[in-house]
Symmetry: C2
Subunit: 246 residues, 2 copies
């Protein structure tokens, strides 16, 4: 089932992600690799999951970026999580009746989609896989707490720098080279929705970071120019990403 040649085959990407924080036996790994699944392609801003729905699939991000989002009644939008290639997108629906947020494609994406019932059977039969799922959930929650700290207690410059540092770490760990090579996938409006700012102020702050030499820009592309400087202005530490977890 090699649906695209430019993405890892089948379940390899999910396996890689789980192995990055959890130990799985050869049998566990084989069981995951053998899961029936299909590939689905979506356009930017297509919905993967809507708040209030029930879901019976377990989507994994094979390529591209996605985000979780909630809105206020008067139209404010807050991005609650950014998902990068390899990330499982919804273990929650295995345990809760209703989805409590919206999940959308940020860029064009390829999803690997497993039937939740199939995955649930695996989790029930294999404790190590169940454990890996929980670790994944807990790490995402830890990242959420860090965003709460950033948006509550840091100014716009530090928030922006912190987000760049975090994405750089996570992308590096996932083997895609980080933001020194790669360009930031978010538009300024999306950055604003992550950071609780307005697009105008993100624009101003981006210019300040550029002037300081921390980032460089090429047209609409943003990438990291001086990681050390960025880490300093962000007061960044990677402890909350739990990277040392076996």
């Amino acid at each position: 089932m090699f649906d695209r040649d430019h993405a890892p085959p089948g379940m390899a990407i999910l396996l890689g992600k789980l192995l990055s924080h959890s130990l799985l036996s050869t049998e566990d790994q084989a069981a995951i690799a053998a899961l029936p699944h299909e590939t689905r392609c979506l356009e930017p801003n297509d919905y993967i999951l809507r708040a209030g729905e029930r879901s019976d699939i377990c989507p994994v991000l094979r390529s591209g970026f996605a985000y979780r989002q909630r809105t206020t009644t008067d139209g404010g939008r807050e991005i609650l999580s950014i998902k990068i290639p390899g990330d499982p997108l919804d273990f929650q629906s295995m345990y809760l009746a209703a989805v409590d947020h919206n999940l959308q494609a940020l860029t064009a994406v390829e999803l690997t989609v497993i039937r939740m019932a199939d995955f649930e059977r695996l989790v029930q039969a294999r404790p190590a896989i169940a454990r890996a799922v929980i670790v994944d959930i807990l790490i995402e929650a830890s990242i959420g707490r860090q965003w709460l700290l950033n948006n509550g207690r840091r100014n716009a410059l530090a928030r922006l720098a912190h987000l760049f540092c975090e994405l750089n770490c996570r992308l590096s760990d996932s083997g895609s080279g980080g933001l020194v090579r790669q360009k930031m996938p978010l538009t300024q409006e999306q950055l604003a929705d992550v950071l609780g700012l307005t697009p105008v102020h993100v624009n101003r702050t981006l210019k300040a970071l550029e002037r300081s030499g921390a980032i460089a820009r090429d047209g609409r592309g943003i990438h990291i120019a001086d990681l050390g400087s960025l880490i300093d202005t962000a007061d960044f530490s990677d402890f909350y990403l739990h990277r040392e977890q076996r």
Copy 2:
């Protein structure tokens, strides 16, 4: 093992919390009730868990309030979660090597403390209990996402109102009558640290809420006077608390 008469005996409080969102068989319930445990009393601001530590206990809040907290290098503090009586305080250490935040008593508290090894044995033997643990983790994460939305996209007045609504819901569900009866347990400084504001501005905003009739104050005590008005100014909906979960 009835250590205090003014709190529910033994494990009843944890059991009540888990049953509020999960189904457990009579045997599962008995197994939880039979867990060896002890009671520990702490003073306000005592640490229950420190960032960076490992923990081998599973504390449950029997009475009083507690909070999770992270700080920035330059001294900013953000409260990441508020725990009310009945809440389990740390399932995370069962799955992750290091604690990623500080956990402190907000008021004087009584903790029921279980050895993590004992609890882990239970979770491994009883799938329904394992499931209840995950549901608990997921609901806390959903609350965290709502705080992210509030602090990012609502002004001080709505944030404060929203927090009151949330605590009122959660306290009502836990059977303690909600904030119409009970007084808000947080000081203005602590409210500020939850909401990403300063104590001075919390004070101003509290006065505005009082003028509008939504809350009433008696000395240092705050309680809800007009829940409907509070819900309106907060744009509050309880969907994110997953109360309908069996």
